[in-house]
């Protein structure tokens, strides 16, 4: 269970989130919607400990997010930002990038498992041998998603996961999410088709000031 308990975030004088509350049971697939600047991405940044809370609390299975617990909580999550530039050259490097970290080495997937995951996201297995500048934005987005999915974390955070995808690819990605039993998937999206495919939609209202 992820609990956002009356959380507020401000950047300097600007209020980005004010008294936001939500409870998300384990395994639920949720989409956060709302106007630009309403604080949807900030919510993920707050959950990952990247921005300080000016009020309220975040708890995951009762464990409060603070400096002492942030490492443990991050290790239960994976996050795909809307735009990602890692300075890598090939698709293979991108897929395996998180598995180069010491904490993930034991989870390094086999080649066949990677190809299977890519196929489920409507990517041909041969894409693994391509350079990143040879594939489209939509393909790149799904390759990065595959990398995050293969980590097998219990909480997955996706920021605008369909921003570069056509309808068929977005459908395939949504299907993958639904099949992840027991995995909590939180997403932020402007895409109505995506929002309709998730189990619950939570609207974030823009703070004043």
């Amino acid at each position: 269970m992820i609990e956002f308990d009356r959380i507020s975030v401000r950047y300097d004088a600007e209020k980005v989130l004010t008294d936001f509350s939500a409870k998300i049971p384990a395994g639920e697939k949720v989409v956060f919607t709302g106007a630009s600047g309403a604080g949807k991405s900030t919510l993920f940044h707050a959950l990952l400990g990247f921005v300080p809370l000016s009020g309220g609390e975040i708890r995951v299975d009762g464990l409060k997010l603070d400096a002492g617990s942030v490492g443990r909580l991050r290790s239960r999550m994976s996050w795909l930002p809307q735009e990602l530039s890692l300075g890598l050259d090939t698709v293979r490097e991108l897929v395996f990038y998180p598995f180069g970290f010491r904490g993930n080495r034991e989870r390094r997937p086999s080649e066949s498992r990677v190809k299977e995951c890519l196929e489920r996201l409507l990517l041909p297995p041969s894409v693994l041998d391509k350079r990143l500048d040879e594939i489209s934005g939509g393909q790149k987005q799904r390759v990065a998603l595959a990398s995050v999915l293969l980590l097998g974390r219990e909480i997955i955070l996706l920021d605008e996961p369909t921003s570069a995808l056509d309808d068929a690819s977005a459908e395939a990605v949504a299907l993958q999410m639904k099949e992840l039993e027991g995995t909590t998937v939180l997403s932020v999206s402007h895409d109505n088709r995506w929002a309709e495919r998730m189990e619950r939609r939570i609207e974030i209202i823009k703070s004043n000031g």
Partner: protein
């Protein structure tokens, strides 16, 4: 045999050359006349003062005095780095000072003690000019690496956070930025090393030849100096970046905003 001395009148004649850039600056209204005159005046006064105290230091040749002077140079280096990159001295002064001190001690000890086999490694004639050259080169590289590291960390915050959010430790997440900083700082050194002797004659070698040394001896010193500069520069910047990254992040691994001077 030493180089011919230059009379004060002849030295003054050398300044006449400066009329050329001053006229060009004036013609194009570059606004650089004042800064040029100030920098030339500073350079002249600083070097004349260096000559005075080097004479004293060389005459006394006292290990404590020599080491003290090198320590002052390292302190000045750390201060210059902080000033040039607009970062708060609170977090960075000590890491830069310690990094440069360690690099120079290690490289000086090996070069002067093990390679040149000096009986007295604090001999001012070797210790001060060689350490000075190592410091000068390290200074430039550390500034470039800090610019690159903090600049890209600020611009590409998502890249850093992606690592943290997907299982990386802070050091693992920073590796991409340290790698880029090393590339940017070391590439000019690699490039200038590759063309040494072809398109540039290094100052130390030229100085030795003017001072009456055999060119073959001067070249051997130059080769050792180039290798030492390369090693001490790299050590200085890698140790500086790794040490300072222990102080500039908060307990959530976020870069402290107080690192940047407003």
């Amino acid at each position: 045999m030493g180089a011919e001395d230059i009379g004060w009148g002849n030295l003054a004649a050398g300044y006449v050359l400066l009329f050329v850039p001053l006229l060009i600056f004036r013609y194009y209204r570059t606004g650089m006349i004042r800064s040029t005159l100030v920098s030339m005046a500073r350079m002249s006064v600083q070097l004349l003062l260096v000559a005075l105290y080097l004479e004293v230091i060389f005459r006394l040749n006292n290990p404590w005095l020599n080491t003290g002077w090198v320590t002052v140079m390292i302190l000045a280096t750390a201060w210059t780095v902080i000033g040039r990159v607009r970062l708060s001295p609170r977090y960075l002064f000590v890491p830069v000072f310690l990094a440069v001190l360690f690099s120079l001690t290690a490289v000086d000890a090996y070069l002067l003690g093990a390679v040149l086999r000096l009986n007295f490694i604090f001999d001012a004639r070797y210790f001060i000019p060689i350490t000075g050259m190592l410091i000068g080169n390290s200074l430039t590289a550390v500034i470039v690496s800090f610019d690159s590291f903090f600049g890209s960390l600020t611009r590409q915050q998502t890249t850093y956070r992606f690592g943290l959010a997907n299982g990386a430790t802070r050091q693992e997440s920073l590796r991409i930025f340290i790698r880029e900083a090393i590339r940017r700082a070391m590439n000019p050194t690699i490039a200038s090393t590759a063309v040494m002797g072809l398109v540039s004659l290094p100052g130390m070698m030229t100085g030795q030849i003017l001072g009456g040394s055999d060119p073959s001896v001067a070249i051997k010193y130059q080769i050792l100096i180039m290798i030492s500069i390369f090693v001490s520069t790299l050590l200085s910047l890698v140790i500086s970046l790794n040490l300072c990254s222990r102080f500039v992040f908060d307990r959530f691994d976020n870069l402290k905003s107080s690192v940047f001077r407003r």
